[in-house]
Symmetry: D2
């Protein structure tokens, strides 16, 4: 269950303060010259210490490429890679070893597995999302060659500076747009584009909500307000859906967020992801320790005030992985009569 | 991609006006005496014509059990079942054959597959959700034996009676609660309980939003407000997570909706699903036909004003399928040292 | 686990004397006009009572097509179908209800599931292979359009007529040839063409051996005898592997059976499947009943003397399903640079 | 497709002369104290240079454990590990860069992927089987705790010493026995124990045949000779199948090789795997280069004369992975009524 994707598959591994964090990409097309500079740029977008709102852990994020490449070109075999956990300070966490931090995964991991890696969140740490960025960068590179782009941004965020002073944290919302998706991607009934995006986004730490198009606002609309009428496009959207050769059909509005019946309609795919505040706050909190005794905890260490700035590239990366996977799946269609 | 689940798997098939709608359940434990009365009750909850807000299509919903049972007891082999589409009026849809209904899946299915079953929505029809109810009822029966219950309700809905008079439709929100889930269910990184619930819910027609716990509201909170502190329970929650033998630990609040780090924490799992209004409205709308010509459409026929009343049992059913699947997966844990 | 395939997927259901036997094909390309006559011909090849060596059960094998088709054309949605079990005589099996027939699946099913459908072998009956023939016929039809043909034959069989007189049964070997497979199909490490063929063949009842190319004989050869040298082909094999544009490369011999490193090399794929004798013999045998008492059994009823004549089409059908699945998977390759 | 298993899953990566060879085990039960000594012993059994018949490449096989462990105890999270490729001599292979070695995977990889890692066989090298041994050792450790043991041996092999002098190679047969398997493991129709073993074995390089029980010999037998009659056991096999509480039922003979209807019957599971001779021979051979020109090749370097001695541990390892996976799957059974 540490794998996402069907044809373009990413398996991730690693704990926050273990030897390394990494992944295996199985199913990447061969003969692709990887754009290592772009991958580095994407990793920088995720890296800590990038701003006032994120933590001070220095992550060099130097990728060791282990397999699947010859002279920087993909072989079609599994691409394994990892980043060592250099700047670890397990001692920062020694005092948390026997305490269940509120709204963290300490308690649930211990319940599930009978033990947990208490050093910095272990497998549940946000650091474990690093391999997603690598896979996402590769997926983006391939999608770009198909005219598909993915752009996310923070559209809502609490007052981080104030929260920092108070020893508190804030949450927010990331909105993402997938541009240039041809009509016809998505696999009903249980592989809908929207369902796979939701699944992917809820794989990120701290995600608590997902909506597509007008999302929850649609619950308050009437059908006549919510429906996207089709029009014949004058200008001609490249790659958009076509009803008849040479005639461009598209939706005039986009309440649906580019997906109808689980399948892309050629409009931009637009979705929003809600992140709860990071649960690591330095304000004292009541909790319980492993012995079942009530105690107080104040979480010190190098923690972000807000996950949102880093989350942008993660949302994009997973959107890229899902889109590429569905794009590869759609290739099968041409088998008959082609 | 018409399959959901990993150990308890449901594959569905059927178009709205084809021969039948049905499913195959693979992985149902053997030696279970199916509660056919309960299955019938659940199907009745989904059936059309049940109220003012739903359509007039008469669905007898008589299940033909095809395999997997001997004297009503599960054999452990695939359980195939189907319900014939008796009260079909394909002629109702003849005029829609060449028109793309706004915000329906007509256009996207045709883009994806090159053709579509135009009779009543075909595979994209809400009728295709029927097998989900059957699988859900079986899953609920098994979960009940484990002390797990699932209850959903409509918490928000537009004014259906007014919309009906206007030839319009309304959307709304269903809230669902999974009660009695032991701590420890869910499979990080890409099989989180929350992610699988989101995936399942987005498999339902018209779903556009999903949130768990306080969901989108968490984006506006501070960590100190959003965190769920742990307490030692006096009363003792049955089946709840335990830190130490004999001591009950639980979260005092439930902003997280019962899931932390993708794993259940023993609290109730609470989530909300946003449904857009049904796109079939009798009000005239602008659209485009298959020849690429602009045209006007007024959708007649037997359509619901609101999907919400029927959606309640669907949300519960998919929640049951996901929960049972994760419960079965968790059994592997006991292999070591047990 | 009642599903085979990754993109072209077949799920089967049904017990020998239940309501029906059937299947769901998920992933069949859309817009294919099914050749129902061909499917009927293939089913006839499997049908009982076709010769002296097979049993007298009359199987009408009338297929009910339930979903996935509009006017005989595939919609791209799941194709569900079934054949009713008309000529059932459960009473023939009443006396077997509490006895474990030697080398049958009675004992193992009961151990696994705690109960079993004792009527005619239930899920373990050879009748449950019927849906494989249907899926195979569809796969063959698609493959034919790609220049790929599959032909099997019985190459070894015991003396059936003598065995019949003795109340005994015989086994044998089926050899199968897949012709016209382009080089490059197969997915290392764990999705090798040979591995998937072996897996598929061992899904058939009574299969106890599988070898590809020279198979077990290779164990006795030297490398210099076993190796297939490459040559430049004069005539030019259509669809064969090419080293350089316009130059045909192929293996001069075929000890490898068309597969090297798990991937097709453009030569015919040749494999053999060993079937044990059908275990249902009318000769008296010692065995044990469910009460744990030793007893004697003589299996009466309508049983084949040899499964081989029917097995030919089954071997071909599964070979077709595997080949098509791998052919669809190979389409992803063209995503980069094309 | 570089993954094997359903609940206990191994994904492998790496090319022969790349940075490293490794794997990710996803689904290993938590709280298992790994027996590193045993893993080292198993790796030694596979290592080159161990005898006269195997090659001179020095493989230190030092495992770097990357994730999934805390103080040597499994966390339940993915266990990633790798072994660096230290003693590489890519220059040995420089002259093979543009030549297709007969019966190697050079040609097929190049056809499939459009390029290949020519250094020492790349992904198709026998070295890539190393991670299988690691996963197998862990699986064996868990199975041992359940009373299940796996023992393989070479039962047939050509004259290696003579072949060595002639610049040739030999093949052979490995027989494997899985002892102590309880009745009831295996998942019909397409997850049969036999089918999964066959699939796994054909994932090994050079495997060309697989048979279970009496295998191909059964094709020549009559039913009365091939059937395994059931008896009531006096001594009582621990963990064996039981028809009635307290009464031991088992098969008196084992022509079936411990599997009937795809499910274990409590007898030892016995199967044989045929390996072709290693195709790397120093005798000159005719072949074709990438330019499509006929040429002669004599393969020098450090190659085994026979793969069999190393193959023994590989066969055992994959048998262990398959058996454990099926054992974990069988745990679901107890969900009802327990």
């Amino acid at each position: 269950m540490n794998t996402i994707g069907h044809l373009f598959k990413l398996t991730t591994f690693g704990e926050s303060h273990g030897t390394a964090i990494g992944g295996v990409i199985d199913g990447c097309p061969s003969n692709l010259k990887l754009d290592f500079d772009f991958i580095a740029v994407e990793l920088d977008r995720r890296k800590t210490a990038q701003s006032e709102t994120t933590s001070q852990r220095k992550e060099s994020d130097h990728i060791e490429w282990i397999s699947g490449l010859l002279d920087g070109i993909t072989l079609g075999t599994p691409i394994a890679f990892m980043v060592r956990n250099d700047d670890c300070k397990p001692s920062d966490y020694e005092n948390l070893k026997d305490v269940f931090r509120p709204s963290h995964a300490d308690f649930t991991y211990e319940q599930k597995y009978g033990l947990r890696d208490w050093r910095g969140g272990g497998r549940a740490s946000a650091r474990t999302t690093l391999p997603i960025v690598v896979a996402g960068a590769i997926a983006k590179q391939i999608l770009k060659g198909k005219g598909i782009q993915i752009v996310a941004e923070v559209t809502e965020m609490g007052d981080a500076e104030q929260a920092k002073n108070e020893g508190d944290t804030v949450g927010g919302i990331v909105e993402c747009r997938i541009i240039g998706v041809p009509a016809g991607l998505g696999e009903p009934m249980f592989g809908k584009f929207s369902a796979q995006l939701a699944h992917a986004m809820f794989s990120l730490p701290a995600v608590k909500g997902f909506e597509i198009g007008d999302g929850f606002a649609l619950a308050k609309m009437k059908g006549s307000e919510a429906n996207d009428t089709f029009i014949v496009s004058d200008v001609g959207l490249k790659d958009a859906g076509r009803g008849t050769e040479g005639i461009e059909i598209c939706a005039a509005t986009n309440h649906s967020g580019g997906i109808q019946g689980g399948i892309s309609n050629g409009n931009d795919i637009v979705f929003r992801v809600a992140f709860k505040p990071i649960p690591s706050i330095s304000k004292p909190q009541q909790t319980v320790n492993r012995a079942g005794e009530a105690c107080t905890i104040a979480i010190k260490g190098r923690h972000d005030v807000c996950a949102l700035p880093r989350a942008v590239v993660l949302v994009e990366a997973l959107a890229a992985v899902v889109t590429l996977d569905l794009r590869m799946m759609a290739k099968q269609l041409s088998l008959v009569g082609g």
